[in-house]
């Protein structure tokens, strides 16, 4: 239950990113738009990796807790 509510909070935060985007300082904006915006692709890959890793680490913790209980 707690995990679900955490995931849900993350989802709401993602929804609000639409509001927050493009308010960073202009140097970040310039980097992101340079070289045909390749850094956008890099950011996207990093977001996916970060998401998957966080998820797997959580799963790992859950499994070690299970092992400890037995």
């Amino acid at each position: 239950m707690r995990n679900i509510s955490r995931l849900f909070a993350l989802f709401l935060m993602l929804l609000s990113t639409t509001l927050l985007h493009a308010q960073g300082d202009s140097s970040l904006q310039n980097t992101m738009r340079s070289n045909g915006r390749i850094y956008v692709v890099i950011t996207v890959i990093l977001v996916i990796l970060a998401g998957l890793f966080l998820y797997l680490i959580r799963l790992d913790r859950k499994m070690s807790k299970l092992e400890k209980n037995n």
Partner: protein, 220 residues
């Protein structure tokens, strides 16, 4: 694994057609779009397992359905997050402050539709985990899962196509149409879809094994 390594390397290095609004960000096709494909596959597997549970009343299938749906939501969230990044640098006008372009972006039917679909699946997890009785839990959530899957289609496939949108893929399946995808990109895109889907299925099977183990120890 090999498919994904190939996806990342080829996806970053191979030549792509440079469109004015997208430029290099068109490479996100191998990542952002694949998240949604993986999500659709996982939700489909989930609903198939729900139906199998309702036919056989074998609790194992209920666990399958729950875990596939959970990983499907994860892929959906990743798709949403990557979409937010991508959109910030293609749709949003760089000369306008963010809140000026927010009104057009927030009206995107595809964003609202996927948000609704993901919320429905969140409700599935909450519903399933809030019932204590094991058989009742499995039966009710199995039926709910079928409804959730049925709602997925109008909210992410049908309604966004009826309404005007900035999001590509208005007149057909985005990127699956042979005419509008460059042949070079197909070489990467199809392995990418398969690779990401297999990765997410693998994560789901890990979760299933953990949960089957948990059930077994609980019964003993």
């Amino acid at each position: 694994m090999i498919l994904l390594i190939y996806t990342v390397i080829a996806g970053l290095l191979l030549k792509v057609p440079l469109l004015p609004a997208l430029e290099e960000t068109v490479r996100n096709l191998y990542f952002h779009v694949c998240m949604w494909m993986a999500m659709m596959t996982l939700f489909t597997i989930s609903v198939v397992n729900s139906i199998r549970y309702l036919r056989t009343f074998n609790l194992r299938y209920d666990i399958y359905a729950r875990q596939y749906a959970a990983v499907g939501i994860l892929m959906g969230l990743l798709g949403y997050a990557t979409g937010a990044v991508w959109m910030s640098y293609t749709w949003a006008d760089p000369n306008n402050p963010a809140y000026a372009s927010f009104s057009t972006i927030a009206r995107e039917p595809k964003l609202i539709g996927t948000a609704i679909a993901l919320l429905i699946y969140f409700a599935y997890l909450v519903l399933r985990d809030s019932i204590n009785d094991m058989d009742k839990k499995a039966r009710i959530s199995g039926v709910y899962n079928i409804f959730a899957y049925a709602m997925l289609f109008p909210s992410i496939w049908i309604v966004p196509r009826i309404l005007p949108s900035l999001h590509p893929g208005q007149e057909g399946n985005p990127a699956m149409n042979f005419k509008d995808i460059d042949s070079n990109m197909q070489l990467v895109f199809y392995p990418a879809v398969i690779g990401w889907t297999l990765l997410s299925v693998w994560i789901a099977t890990l979760r299933i094994r953990v949960n089957l183990f948990k059930e077994k120890t609980m019964i003993q």
